[in-house]
Symmetry: C2
Subunit: 719 residues, 2 copies
C-alpha cells in the first residue's frame, strides 16, 4: 500500500483563529436566526404590524405557530407579545377559526387548498391588521414562516397581499441513514436520528429539524436509507419511528420509511417475498395495519428494488408494477403511498446504463396503482455534477413521476466545496422535454400540470447530519433551503432563492448579498468545470466518489469504471450515445432526439455525454480544439474557485466572524481540491491526446503517478 | 429473527417539552460556563482582585491564558480587562517573567516543578494583589484555571495561599476512535476528530476540548483506538495529527498515537515485524524520526499487543518487553514514551483470564527500558461495574505501572445511566495492596511514591464524542472531570470533586449542590446493585455489552460467556478464585490473599468474584440467604434509581431548564433499564436457585423468555 502526503508542498495561507475562544454564529440556527432587524426604520414599521399578535386556535400546530412567533418576533423586533384578537396587529387564523375573517373581509380561500395561505393587509374592526389566513393550521404555519421570511429579508409589508399554495403535494427529504447512524453519502457527521436513545430521548434537534423543514414547506421525511435494513419494520423500531412522527406531526411533516422488499422473509419468517403470494400480501397488509395503529398519518414506503443488489419483485419473476402495487394495496386503506424508485440497472440486461430506467419503466406506464409514484433521479446515470435530464420525464402520461434530486454532494465535493445547487435544479426543471410539444418542461411534468397526475412530489436526498451547522458547510445549508422552496414552487428562480437565503443566513447588507449571491450563482458551473466539463461524467474515485480518478478501470462491472464513461483513446473522448453508438438519444422526444444526435446541435454542456469526438474537434463557442477546450475549462473552474475565495476574504468583518471563518477554511480545501481535480484529469487525458497543455497555463506540480497513488480508504459516506 | 417491543407496556410519564423551541444550557460549555456570579457580594469582592489583570509574557500559552481570562472574567464579573502590571489586581507570571515577583516577594517555586503553580494574596508595590506564579507558562495556565474554579465555586479569595503540583506525570485520555470516526465503546456520537477534513478544517471544538482538558490538568491525548489502524502512521495521516498537535500544544497537551505492532508489514512493505529484526527496528526508528520532524513534542506510542487478535511480539516468539523496548528505543532519542498495555489474555494459555496480566507481566519486571510504562486496567477482567484491583499493582517494583480507568461506560449503561465514577476510582486508588506493608495503596503505586518510579501516569478511556454536550449525558461530564482531577492528585476525594463540579456545571445553590452530590455519590453503588451485585460480573449482552444477558453461553471462547463468570447452578453461584478454585487470590500480597481466600473475610462487594457459594449461604451484613440478598440488592438498585429520579424532578426550576430536561429524559431510560436488569437477572438466577422472589417485592412483568428474546444488533459502540 502506498500512501503519500496528499497535496504536499502546496502553499496556502493557514487560516488562523484570532482567539482560542471563538464566539458567534456557529450555523445551528440555519436561516431562522431572528436577530434584531438592523434597520431601525424597518424594525419600527414592523412593530406596528406585529409587536402584538394573536393566533387563533389551540391545536398542536397553532401552539407551534405561537412558539415560533414568540421567539421570532421577540428576536426581530426586540419586543413582541401575544394578545387578543381585538388588540392584535397581526392575526393568524385557519379553518373554522378563520371563518369570521373570511366572511367579513370577503376573502376567498378555497384555492389555497390544504397547505396554502394568504398574507394580507386589511382593516378589521377599524384598525389596520396584517392577517395570515389558511384553510388548515399547517397552512397557517407555512404562512407564518413566509411572513417571518419577509421580515428577515426586510421586505415592505405595507399593502402586502399575497397568496401561495404548493405546486407539488409530496415535498420529501430522503435520509440515506442507516440504523447504526452511518449516513450513506453523508458528509456532515452522523445521522441525526439516535435510534438507540429513541423513543425516550428526544433531542431539541428533532424539533429544530421540523421547524426548518416547515419553514420551507417540506412536508415529509423518509427516515432511513433506501438500501434498507429490514429491522426498521420491527415493532422495536416502529416504536422509535412513532416517537419521531409524534414530534413532527404538528409541523405538518409526515414520516415515511424505506423498506426492504424481502422483509417478509428477513423478519417475517416467510419463505418468499413474491408479491403475488397471498401470505406475502397478508404480511404487508398486517404490517401496514400495525404501523397505522401507531402512526395514523404515516406517509408510506420508499422502495429501491432490483437495483445494486437490493431484492425486488424481479427475484420472483414479477414486474416493478406488481411489486409496487402489492405494497400500495397494503397502504391504500390508510391513505399511504408508495414511492418506487426508477434508479435500476441490472447486470443481466445487455443495455447501456443510461437507458435502463426508461426501458424498464416506460412499458409499465398505466400499470401502477393510484397511490404509486415512480421516483426518478434527475439524470439518467447518477447525480453527476451535470447530466441531461432523464428521458423518462414526460414519457409516462399515466404514471406520476416524482423528482429525486440529491442535496448531499456525493459527486460534487462532499461538504467542503461551496456549490449552490439551485441553478442545477433550475436547469433540470426548466428543461423542455417536448413531451406534449414546446413548453413541456420537467417542472410541468413533476407538478402534474402536463398530465394531470393525481399525486405529485419531489424528493431530495438530504445533506443533513449531526454537525453543529447541520450540513458540514454553512453555504450548503442553501441547498436544503432551495430544495424546499423549489419543491413548493418548481418555477421559482434559483437567484431569487439565493437572495432570500443570503439575507436570512448571512446579512442584509447589499454588498454582502450581491457578492455572495454572485458566488452562489457561479459555483455550480465552476465545479462542473474543474470536475467534469463538457458532459464528462463519473470519473470520481471508486466507491467513495472522492476526488478525481478517471483511470479507474478494474471494478466488477464495466459501468462502474471511469474509463467506461469517458472512453478516452488516442482518437478522442466521450461516450457515443448517438444513433451511431448506444443510441440513448432515441428515448427523448423530438426535437431533442435529433438535437442530441448531432454534435453540432448538442448543447456544449452535454457534448461528451452524447458523443465521442476527436481531440481536434472544433468547439464552436470558443473556436478551440476539443483538447484545448477541455484543458481550458479545467483551469477556468479552478480559477473561479480562487476568485471566489478572494471574494470571500473581502467580506471579512462584514459577516459574523465564525461564519466567515468556517467558510474560509472550507474554501482552502476547495481550492486545493479544484487544482487536484484539474491536474489529475488534464494529465490523465493528456496521455491519450498526446498534446501539450496550452501556452500560458501553469504546469501541474505533481506527476500523474502521484495523483494515481493517492488513496482514501476512510473517506466519509461510503455505502 | 425475533424482535419484540422492548420494555413494552411499562408506564412512565413521557417527559414533555414546554415549548417547541428550547433555549438554555445545552451542555457544550461543560464546567467552563463563566456565567455571572449570582452572589453580588462575592462578585464585588472578586472584582477587587481580578477586574484588572495582567499576564506576563508573549508565548502561545500566555495568549491562551489571556484569552481565557478575558472571556471568563468578563463573564463572571460582568466587566474585566487586561491592564499593565502596575495597575493589575491579578498578575499571572511564569518562568523568567516571574523572577521579579519570586525574588521581591521571596517566594520559592522550585517544588512546583514543570507544571505546578501557586495562587497567593500578596502586597506588591504597596497594593494588594492576587498572583498566580509558576515555573512554566503551562503551570501558569493550570493555576489560572484553578483560580477560575475558585471563583466559579465562590470560594473566599481573601488570604488565599495555595500551591499545587501534579502527582503523576502523564495524565492522558485514551480515545478509542477509529479513522472512520466510529468510536469503539463510544456513546456520545462520533469521534470528534474529523480526519477527512483535517488538516485544514479546524473545528472550534478542537480548541474547546483542549481548554477543558487543561482546566483539569490533562496533559496528553491518545488520538486513536488501541485496536489501531496502521494508516495512522502514514504521512497522509501524520499531517493531520500534526494539525491537532499544533492546536493542543499551547494548552500543554501532547499528542500520542496507538500503533499496530505489525505496521512495518502493513504499511512499511517489510516481511516481518519481529522486534529483533534490524530492518524492523530501522523502520520504527525512521518512523519516529519522521513524526518528531513534524511534531517535536510528540508524546509517544500506546500499544495493545497480543490481545484479542491484535498482533504483537508474541507472533515472533518475543516477549512483551522485547516488543516494547524496540519501540522505546525508536522514541528515546526524542523523549517519547511507550505505554504498553497489560490487558492481554491469550486463548492458548490454559489460565483463568483474571490471572493472565499478572502472570504475563510480573516475570518481566525489570526487563523494560526506562521510557516504558505498563498500562494496567484497574481490575483484572475488564472495566466491570466493580472489580477488585488488579494484583499487578504493587507487584512490579522496577516497572512503572500506569493506571487505565475507563471513563466511557461500556459496562455501566452507556450514556443514559447517571453514574458518577468518582467513588469507583477512589475505591480503587485507596485500596491497600500491602505490597510494602500497610499503606501501600494503589495511588501510591501509581504516583510513584511506593517504588520511586521514574515515570508515572494515569490513562482514562474517553467518553467524549460529537454530541453537543460532549458525553451524551450532562452528568457524565463529571467523569471526564473527575478523571482529570484524580490524575493530578490520586488522593483527592471524589466527594470534593463532585462538589466543585456541581457548582461549576449546575448551580451554586446549596440545596441543588447537596441533592445532586448525594445522587452522584450514591449512583455507582446503585448501578452495581441493579447490574452486578456482590461481586457478580460480565453478565452483559454479548458484543455490545448493552443490558442484561446472564444466559450468554455460546460465544467462541469460554471466557467471553456470561455463564463462565457467574457459574450459577443448582447449588449456588459465583466464581471460585480461592485456593479451592483457580486460586487467583495467590497473586495478591498478604494479608489480602488470605482475606480473599475466605468468604467470611472477603468484603461482600467481592464475594461472588472470589467464591462460589450455596444459595443458602448466610450473608453477614444482612443475615439474609445469598439468594435473598442477591434479589434484594437488585431491587434496591432499581429503587435507588427511582429515588434519584424523584430527587431530580424536585429540582425543576432550580437549574437550567435544558439541563434539567436532558437529565430527566435520560433518567426515564435509566429507570426502565434498571428494572429490566433487575427482572432479567432475578428471573434467570431463579431457575437455578429454585426459590421464590422474597415477599414484598413486586413480581417482574415479563417472562424470562421475553428478556432473552430481546436483540440489539445496532447498539452503539461495538468494536
Amino acid at each position: 500500500m502506498k500512501l503519500v502526503l496528499i497535496l504536499a508542498g502546496w502553499l496556502f495561507a493557514l487560516t488562523v483563529q484570532a482567539s482560542s475562544i471563538m464566539q458567534g454564529e456557529d450555523g445551528y440556527r440555519l436561516w431562522l436566526k431572528y436577530d434584531p432587524i438592523d434597520n431601525a426604520d424597518v424594525q419600527q414599521a414592523y412593530r406596528q404590524h406585529a409587536a402584538n399578535w394573536f393566533v387563533a386556535g389551540n391545536s398542536a400546530t397553532t401552539q407551534v405557530i405561537k412558539d415560533e412567533l414568540d421567539f421570532a418576533l421577540k428576536g426581530l423586533l426586540g419586543e413582541a407579545s401575544a394578545t387578543d384578537a381585538e388588540s392584535a396587529g397581526l392575526i393568524v387564523a385557519a379553518g373554522d377559526n378563520a371563518t369570521v375573517y373570511r366572511q367579513k373581509l370577503k376573502i376567498e380561500t378555497a384555492d389555497l387548498g390544504d397547505e396554502g395561505y394568504l398574507i394580507q393587509q386589511v382593516r378589521w374592526q377599524n384598525k389596520p391588521r396584517l392577517v395570515v389566513l389558511a384553510n388548515t393550521d399547517v397552512g397557517a404555519l407555512y404562512g407564518t414562516f413566509h411572513l417571518l421570511r419577509l421580515m428577515q429579508t426586510q421586505q415592505n409589508l405595507e399593502n402586502v397581499a399575497l397568496r401561495s399554495a404548493p405546486k407539488t403535494q409530496l415535498r420529501v427529504l430522503n435520509h440515506w441513514d442507516n440504523l447504526d447512524r452511518h449516513v450513506e453519502r453523508g458528509y456532515a457527521g452522523q445521522s441525526i436520528w439516535d435510534w438507540h436513545k429513541l423513543p425516550d430521548y428526544r433531542y431539541q434537534r428533532y424539533f429544530d429539524y421540523a421547524r426548518a423543514n416547515a419553514s420551507v414547506g417540506i412536508n415529509g421525511t423518509v427516515l432511513n436509507n433506501v438500501n434498507a435494513d429490514p429491522l426498521i419494520l420491527t415493532s422495536q423500531y416502529l416504536d422509535k419511528v412513532k416517537a419521531l412522527a409524534d414530534i413532527f406531526r404538528p409541523y405538518g411533516i409526515k414520516v415515511y420509511l424505506s423498506v426492504k422488499f424481502s422483509s417478509p422473509q428477513l423478519i417475517g419468517g416467510l419463505k418468499s417475498s413474491d408479491p403475488l403470494d397471498k401470505k406475502v400480501q397478508a404480511w404487508w397488509k398486517n404490517k401496514a395495519d400495525e404501523i397505522y395503529q401507531a402512526i395514523p398519518d404515516f406517509g408510506g414506503f420508499l422502495v429501491k428494488a432490483n437495483s445494486e443488489g437490493q431484492p425486488g419483485p424481479g427475484d420472483f419473476g414479477r414486474t416493478h408494477a406488481q411489486g409496487a402495487n402489492m405494497l400500495a394495496q397494503a397502504l391504500a386503506p390508510h391513505g399511504g403511498v408508495v414511492m418506487w424508485r426508477a434508479f435500476v440497472y441490472a447486470n443481466e440486461k445487455n443495455e447501456e446504463r443510461s437507458k435502463q430506467a426508461y426501458s424498464e419503466f416506460k412499458p409499465l406506464d398505466g400499470k401502477f396503482d393510484d397511490n404509486v409514484l415512480v421516483q426518478v433521479k434527475n439524470g439518467p446515470i447518477d447525480f453527476q455534477p451535470r447530466e441531461p435530464v432523464n428521458a423518462l420525464f414526460g414519457a409516462t402520461p399515466q404514471t406520476p413521476l416524482m423528482m429525486e434530486f440529491q442535496i448531499t454532494m456525493e459527486y460534487l465535493g462532499f461538504s467542503t466545496h461551496f456549490v449552490y445547487l439551485g441553478p442545477m435544479y433550475e436547469e433540470v426543471l426548466k428543461t423542455d422535454t417536448f413531451a406534449k410539444g414546446k413548453g413541456s418542461t420537467v417542472a410541468s411534468v413533476i407538478d402534474g400540470e402536463l398530465y394531470d397526475y393525481p399525486i405529485t412530489g419531489m424528493a431530495g436526498v438530504a445533506n443533513i447530519g449531526t454537525d453543529r451547522n447541520w450540513t458540514g458547510h454553512i453555504m450548503l445549508q442553501s441547498n436544503w433551503y432551495v430544495f424546499g422552496r423549489m419543491a413548493w414552487n418548481p418555477s421559482i428562480s434559483s437567484a431569487t432563492v439565493a437572495d432570500e437565503w443570503v439575507r436570512m443566513t448571512l446579512s442584509n447588507d447589499n454588498e454582502v448579498v450581491t457578492k455572495v449571491k454572485d458566488m452562489m450563482m457561479a459555483s455550480h458551473e465552476a465545479t462542473v468545470n474543474y470536475m467534469t466539463p463538457l458532459g464528462l461524467h463519473h470519473i470520481m474515485g471508486a466507491g467513495h466518489h472522492y476526488g478525481p480518478a478517471p483511470w479507474v478501470d478494474s471494478l466488477g462491472r464495466a459501468d462502474w469504471n471511469s474509463v467506461y464513461y469517458h472512453q478516452a483513446n488516442s482518437k478522442g473522448i466521450g461516450f457515443d450515445r448517438s444513433p451511431s453508438g448506444v443510441n440513448a438519444v432515441e428515448q427523448y422526444f423530438s426535437p431533442l432526439k435529433e438535437e442530441y444526435a448531432n454534435p453540432a446541435t448538442t448543447p456544449e454542456k452535454y457534448l461528451l455525454w452524447f458523443h465521442h469526438l476527436p481531440w481536434e474537434y472544433n468547439v464552436a463557442s470558443s473556436g478551440r480544439t476539443l483538447w484545448s477546450e477541455i484543458v481550458h475549462r479545467y483551469y477556468q473552474g479552478a480559477n473561479t474557485v480562487k476568485e471566489m475565495a478572494n471574494t470571500w476574504d473581502s467580506l471579512e468583518g462584514k459577516i459574523d466572524p465564525w461564519q466567515f471563518h468556517q467558510v474560509q477554511m472550507a474554501m482552502t480545501i476547495q481550492q486545493k481540491e479544484a487544482i487536484w481535480w484539474r491536474n489529475a484529469c488534464v494529465l490523465y487525458f493528456q496521455q491519450f491526446a498526446e498534446l501539450p497543455i496550452p501556452e500560458g497555463l501553469e504546469k501541474p506540480e505533481q506527476s500523474l503517478e502521484y495523483y494515481q497513488s493517492l488513496s482514501f480508504p476512510h473517506a466519509p459516506g461510503q455505502g
